[in-house]
Subunit: 202 residues, 2 copies
């Protein structure tokens, strides 16, 4: 039986959805890195990944879907790094671990930051596309506010404003680092100063 | 003599550079409002302004130049509103007056905010284009740090980090308001909380 099976050739491999998704995600980020996400087309991604346009269209058919796919990819990469972070235990350390993942402090995060700002610009004129981003943002803001609350003693800002402030701060800092207006060390020092304010009892 | 001059017709009106620039600026912002700045072409602007493509090209010949023109227009509008602001005398009030002009709290500022975030996204992949933005940012940061210093007693953050923080905060908040993640009142309350931290002696 085994021999017969072998003669029929290998059982067709099931499509590995995750593998293909990763292949396309990497290709999309590579093209975005050189062209800027706004100028990337479905065809560029197919060419970069070495697959057919039809295969790409299985994952995203329109520019809107491609932008959401790119955002998902970035979110997944941030989450994976967070899961690997051993130091995130106390409230302040947990919030810091999240926020430094959003700062463009190395090439990977710079690329992700460019994708994020491109998505923000794209979504700013298209309320429908912004929905996916709203979920992510609301989730992160709630998580930060929860940690500020957990830290106990009231800080200089109430937890909601502290959370909105820290997340906005990091997104603004990311833009400034990407544009070369602020160097990464100064951005990190500015973040740490604000974390102190949010987590130090007054 | 006067009669003779009249018979020669009116003296050809000198091209009003400022008027034309304003006409094109308004057209550019109107098209950007509906399409998103990234998808605007020189031809769209010419059609919207009711002028020839050649006239538009006198002001910007390439997409890069159009983006810089758009940023200049936004900066000029912000400056004009600041010049009209009567309340900006004390250091904290001056900084607040500047920063609220960068928050999308009405339709005009929302449109300018969309232009600004589109410019950030565009510039993030094109270092050469970012130069103009860097000047503006450095100027605003220095102005804020100067006011924090002038306020006298040391606040919770040193002036440089306070300035970087406030400007980044407002740019992040602007993105969150534009994306519908944060409502304008919460954004303003978050800004005021951070102004208190920067300007209140510890």
């Amino acid at each position: 039986m085994r021999v017969q099976c072998d003669r029929l050739g290998p059982v067709p491999k099931l499509v590995d959805h995750h593998e293909r998704r990763t292949l396309l995600a990497d290709a999309l980020l590579r093209v975005a890195a050189t062209r800027g996400l706004m100028d990337v087309s479905l065809r560029h991604v197919a060419a970069e990944a070495g697959v057919t346009a039809g295969m790409v269209q299985h994952y995203f058919r329109t520019k809107d879907e491609m932008m959401v796919f790119a955002l998902d990819v970035v979110a997944a990469r941030v989450q994976a790094r967070l899961d690997d972070d051993p130091e995130a235990d106390a409230p302040r350390a947990r919030v810091r671990a999240l926020l430094v993942q959003l700062l463009p402090l190395d090439d990977d995060r710079a690329l992700e930051g460019r994708v994020a700002v491109a998505f923000h610009a794209y979504a700013a004129a298209r309320p429908a596309v912004a929905a996916r981003l709203r979920e992510d943002t609301a989730g992160m803001r709630a998580a930060i506010a929860e940690q500020v609350r957990r830290a106990g003693a009231p800080g200089a800002l109430d937890p909601e404003r502290a959370a909105t402030g820290l997340l906005s701060l990091v997104e603004g800092l990311a833009i400034h680092v990407l544009g070369g207006h602020v160097d990464p060390d100064h951005a990190l020092a500015t973040l740490d100063g604000h974390l102190d304010l949010a987590f130090t009892p007054v």
